[in-house]
């Protein structure tokens, strides 16, 4: 029941905030601030009291539309817990970051913000495919309004593009869900949308391939993977600060989570067949996103494109599919949520002062706003994966895990570390260094703004230097990668085994085996 409250509180708070806004704007803001905080506390409490040994911490299930086998079923394992916590944390900060910037239609703004928060939390918890799809759709509409009503110049174009991309790919997923529903129903005689029942559904490999691709389409758009990433820079850069934070920090994570929770476990064989191509796509995304980021003249667009690059690491980690890479992928998800969310908040704070995102009009701002500069520098460094920040832990684990599967792809992906330096330092250079040509003079961060940024710095450093709590939480959920162990898959498709390439094959057999045994021994 706690899980239901986690979702219901923001939903209710959204309605309440909308109603209250006519009387008192400040009450509306406070309710929106406190509701995600309460959900955060509840989720943390549920996680702490959950069954720490098992994979699943808390479960809740009631029938919803029994005739069609639909139930209201929520499950929280370590990964869901971490992502729900991230959702509510960023939601609090998004409300705080909009404290001054949003002055029009305040009630409706917070209603949308709360509903999208609730829907995302629901997406991370749902274990009924129909319910997941419902949350998926509920997420979309408030975001559309956030962009259309409070966005920047090209907001209508961006919102429609975002809507069409997500909706079209979401419909493919619906087709996939229904296909799986009927295949399973025909084979087992029980028609159900229950996630656990649908796992291990026997089906022909071509059917699995098609259904997997339908799911993959939806998640790849959300993630986003190249080449369907093009909605992202428009949506991110046109959305208001809170919208960008939610989009970059959370909505992209729903795509990654969908791959991790649904697409791969439901169709392991198909995922294994396609994984070399998808991993290649991921590496292309890492490098292509970085190249695009460097080329931008609009600060917010630049930050938006860095997401394409970072989410490439997540995609790579998920399809490398070993404990190390998966832990890394989830760590990158959290780290990216924090660091890119922070960058969008900082860009928003800058925008409130200079009213432009044009890099050509900036420069030399360190002089007038050293605190803003210092925080931006920190998150630019986090973005380039500096050791000591959470991003490093994630990216390193992803690459280390990928190296076991495919040395060449890991090496090319590592070039992304160089490309990240180029765009991250470019941000600092163009905004804060160089001469202050336009003679900007403005007040540095207020205490409220400093507190937001400092909270994000603290999380990034904590997860970078002592990620043990995070890894302990997500570890059990990823250790036995949900339904399929490597041995249930055809041996030639096994991903978890390292493939030796080149370097003296005869020699490495000995040490290799000891390592995988040692790794295996460590897991049980």
């Amino acid at each position: 029941m706690i899980l239901t409250w986690c979702i219901l509180i923001p939903f209710a708070a959204g309605v309440l905030a909308w109603l209250l806004a006519r009387r008192s704007v400040i009450a509306c803001r406070w309710i929106s601030l406190l509701a995600p905080a309460a959900s955060f506390g509840l989720a943390l409490w549920a996680g702490a009291n959950g069954d720490a040994q098992g994979r699943c911490l808390v479960e809740f299930k009631v029938p919803w539309i029994p005739a069609w086998g639909i139930s209201f079923s929520l499950t929280m394992d370590g990964v869901s817990l971490v992502l729900v916590l991230l959702t509510n944390f960023l939601s609090v900060l998004a409300v705080a970051a909009s404290w001054r910037g949003i002055q029009e239609r305040v009630g409706f703004f917070h209603f949308n913000l709360m509903w999208v928060t609730a829907a995302i939390s629901g997406g991370f918890l749902a274990t009924d495919l129909f319910l997941f799809y419902v949350f998926w759709e509920v997420m979309l509409v408030p975001l559309y309004f956030l962009i259309v009503l409070w966005g920047h110049e090209r907001r209508i174009y961006a919102a429609i593009k975002f809507f069409i991309f997500t909706q079209a790919s979401g419909l493919l997923m619906l087709v996939g869900i229904l296909g799986l529903y009927f295949i399973h129903g025909r084979a087992a005689g029980v028609y159900t949308f229950d996630y656990r029942a649908l796992l291990n559904t026997p089906m022909s490999s071509s059917a699995a391939l098609w259904l997997f691709m339908a799911f993959f389409a939806a998640f790849a758009v959300k993630l986003p993977a190249v080449p369907v990433h093009t909605w992202l820079p428009d949506a991110h850069s046109e959305a208001p600060t809170a919208g960008s934070v939610i989009l970059a920090g959370l909505v992209l994570k729903v795509g990654a989570y969908g791959l991790l929770r649904f697409a791969v476990p439901l169709f392991p064989g198909a995922a294994a067949v396609l994984s070399p191509y998808i991993m290649t796509l991921a590496v292309v995304g890492i490098l292509y996103g970085a190249l695009l980021a460097f080329g931008q003249r609009d600060l917010k667009r630049l930050v938006a494109y860095t997401s394409v690059s970072h989410m490439g690491f997540v995609l790579l980690g998920i399809f490398a599919w070993n404990a190390m890479a998966l832990n890394g992928a989830v760590a990158v998800m959290v780290a990216h949520g924090v660091s890119t969310g922070a960058l969008f908040i900082l860009v928003g704070q800058l925008y409130e002062r200079v009213h432009t995102h044009d890099l050509n009009r900036m420069g030399g701002l360190w002089e007038t706003a050293p605190r803003l500069g210092g925080f931006t520098l920190f998150f630019a460094l986090a973005s380039l994966g500096l050791p000591g920040t959470a991003n490093f832990v994630g990216e390193f684990l992803v690459l280390l895990g990928t190296y076991r599967v495919n040395i060449a792809l890991a090496a090319v992906a590592a070039l992304g570390l160089v490309a990240a330096v180029i765009y991250a330092l470019w941000i600092v250079q163009r905004v804060f260094h160089g001469p202050n040509r336009e003679r900007w003079r403005f007040a540095d961060l207020t205490p409220r703004e400093t507190a937001i940024a400092a909270a994000l710095v603290a999380v990034a450093l904590w997860l970078g230097l002592y990620p043990a709590p995070l890894l302990r939480t997500i570890g059990p959920a990823l250790q036995q990668p949900l339904p399929y162990q490597p041995e249930t898959r055809p041996p030639e498709l096994t991903l978890a085994e390292p493939k030796a390439r080149g370097l003296d094959r005869a020699q490495h057999v000995g040490p290799e085996r000891t390592i995988s045994e040692a790794a295996g021994g460590g897991t049980h």
Binding site: G388, F396, L425
Partner: protein
């Protein structure tokens, strides 16, 4: 006592945190006290630990201190763990002491600067990162320090951020070294995947037991780590960032780009020397790269007119000597040269900084001159450091360390004669460019009047480092002088002589003395050439530069052998161009095309809505006919 090890990096880190949080509110005096004070405290702790280490070394000459487990996933569990052995102790001592002296110097040097506290914050962060790098027990923690010093280098090169050129130099340094770091990261993936740990001692044991000498995996791992070392230590072909790094304040150049950070690559190879011993081909490459770099940079130094760029190329060249020693298997010689180099090169930078400050930020040596009487302390310390750099026999520290490298190169199992010849040619070049610099700056006619003399806070570091540049060699006197190799003995527990490592044969005494004689002659020749071309016959060099070949060579050397232009054309411009061309994202044009096609179709179909009844009737008729035809024939 050893339990206090964690304080060594923690103290400067605390200094950084205090300065970063309090910022300029702290005031100038307090900033300097916090900045230099924490470094001094770290040096004191380090010294106390060192004394304890000499008196009663810990069992196995190594002490490990675990702070916490960093990451723990699926058998991969690097810890935040410090490791003290003679090698890291020597390096940490040099870093903390030289670091403290340079911070003291900076307190006066940077006095006029508005961002006083930011400067000390960055320097403290640098010292903390460098100490983490040195004291790390596993390669991942070492990598943290490694990237940390790279970050500080970036921050301090671009310290005067208002000039875009400084920002460019800073980014260049970060990006070029990051290329090497990426190779190193891949090396870590390989080492962990094959050996199952990144903990340095156990990893080296595993490597020695699992890999035979000359195995491809050992070679690949060593080569990838070497990539990282080349970037950080500015060796060919990743050396291009260091001369530009001189854009930073001079104390930064002294500390980071001469004494400490740039020798991190030397430390890495020395730390992993067992792995390099398993890969003789890579070790030979280390020696060849070192030899090539020392000649390359020596020639480039001859053509520079900016005093700091001369010193930068000189640093590249001297690190080339260290690489040469590493390649020849003379591990302790490389570390010994690191130590003496830290003394005399940071002194050269600090003295040059005093000159630059006195002449109002003048870097061009051709606008200096005759400063020997106006700035006696600066002159004498600069001269002492120059002699040490050239290796003036018997009285300077540089002589002993360079001598050790030259005789080790001779005895190297592989191409020893050639390596030694390169080292000898380097001696000539070193003497020539060093004394060209000394003569141009301190002799001849006075071209600019110094406005100030170094005060106490600048003079103390100069004097202290000058003393070290002279007596620093006493820890390793050659046998024929009746000395004892204290330094190598101290490091013996780290660099255990092994039958199969690349240390080669011991050079006989006669040859060693002969080599020294030759080196001394070349040194004198170099000084003489510098004297002739700079002081005695200044017209000669001008005439030489007028000739076509001479002029071309001068430009070639001045531009660092054209590496910048080459990389610019090969990497920078294509990347920037590609980013510019693709600014609007080619992939988006596909979707934009779909949207555009829909709009066009919409317009085309709208055209048919004319309101003319006859058209509609014809449309209906045509449609009916086609439907009937299909029904009949299909």
């Amino acid at each position: 006592m050893f339990g206090l090890l964690w304080l060594i990096p923690a103290l400067p880190l605390a200094g950084f945190a205090a300065l970063a949080l309090a910022g300029p509110r702290l005031g100038r005096r307090a900033s300097a006290v916090v900045g230099a004070g924490t470094a001094a405290a770290a040096a004191a702790v380090c010294a106390a630990i060192a004394i304890r280490f000499f008196e009663s070394p810990p069992p196995g000459h190594a002490f490990a201190q675990t702070l916490w487990t960093w990451i723990s996933v699926d058998g991969f569990s690097p810890r935040i763990e410090l490791y003290l052995d003679p090698l890291s102790l020597v390096m940490a001592l040099v870093v903390t002491f030289v670091g403290f002296l340079i911070l003291l110097y900076s307190a006066e040097f940077m006095e006029e600067d508005e961002a006083y506290s930011r400067f000390f914050a960055y320097l403290d962060l640098f010292i903390a990162s460098m100490l983490t790098l040195l004291l790390a027990k596993n390669l991942l923690l070492l990598y943290l320090g490694w990237e940390g010093v790279g970050l500080c280098s970036y921050l301090l090169i671009g310290f005067w951020y208002k000039d875009p050129a400084n920002g460019r130099a800073a980014r260049k340094a970060f990006i070029v070294t990051r290329v090497g770091d990426t190779a190193m990261a891949i090396g870590l993936f390989l080492l962990f995947t094959r050996l199952g740990t990144l903990d340095i001692p156990s990893m080296l044991r595993a490597a020695a037991s699992q890999w035979t000498q000359g195995s491809n995996l050992a070679a690949a791992a060593a080569a990838l780590l070497l990539g990282g070392a080349l970037g950080k230590s500015a060796q060919l072909p990743l050396q291009t960032w260091l001369p530009d790094a001189m854009a930073g304040p001079t104390p930064v150049s002294a500390l980071i780009h001469a004494a400490t950070m740039v020798t991190a690559g030397v430390y890495l190879i020395a730390r992993m020397h067992l792995l390099f011993a398993l890969a003789p081909a890579v070790q030979a490459a280390v020696a060849v790269i070192g030899a090539a770099t020392l000649l390359y940079a020596g020639c480039a130094a001859l053509a520079q007119s900016d005093i700091k760029r001369v010193l930068a190329y000189s640093t590249i060249s001297q690190i080339g000597y260290m690489f040469l020693a590493l390649g020849a298997g003379a591990w302790s010689a490389a570390i010994f040269h690191f130590m003496t180099h830290a003394f005399f090169k940071s002194l050269l930078f600090l003295a040059a900084g005093a000159v630059i400050l006195a002449l109002r930020d003048e870097h061009n040596m051709f606008k200096m001159g005759g400063l020997r009487r106006a700035m006696p302390l600066t002159f004498w310390t600069f001269l002492i450091a120059s002699c040490s750099l050239c290796g003036l026999p018997f009285v300077t520290a540089g002589f002993y360390s360079k001598d050790m490298i030259l005789s080790a190169a001779w005895g190297s199992r592989w191409g020893g004669r050639w390596l030694c010849a390169a080292g000898m040619a380097g001696v000539l070049l070193t003497a020539a460019y060093t004394f060209r610099m000394v003569f141009l700056t301190f002799f001849g006619p006075m071209r600019a009047r110094p406005e100030r003399k170094p005060g106490l806070r600048m003079s103390i570091p100069l004097a202290a480092l000058a003393a070290l540049s002279v007596v620093g060699g006493c820890v390793e006197l050659p046998h024929y002088l009746g000395g004892a190799p204290l330094f190598s003995d101290f490091l013996r527990s780290v660099f255990v002589p092994m039958p199969q490592d690349g240390s080669g044969t011991v050079t006989p005494l006669q040859i060693e003395i002969l080599l020294q004689l030759l080196a001394a002659l070349l040194l004198l020749l170099g000084v003489y050439l510098a004297y002739v071309f700079v002081l005695a016959m200044p017209g000669w060099s001008a005439r030489l530069a007028m000739t076509r070949a001479g002029g071309a060579l001068h430009r070639f050397w001045l531009a660092g052998w054209g590496f910048d232009a080459l990389y610019d054309r090969l990497f920078v411009r294509p990347f920037v161009r590609a980013a510019e061309i693709n600014r609007r994202d080619f992939a988006d044009s596909i979707f934009a095309g779909v949207a555009e096609a829909n709009v066009r179709l919409h317009r085309a179909l709208s055209q048919t809505e004319t309101g003319v009844l006859r058209w509609y009737a014809m449309g209906i008729a045509l449609g009916a006919i086609i439907t009937i035809l299909i029904a009949v024939f299909a």
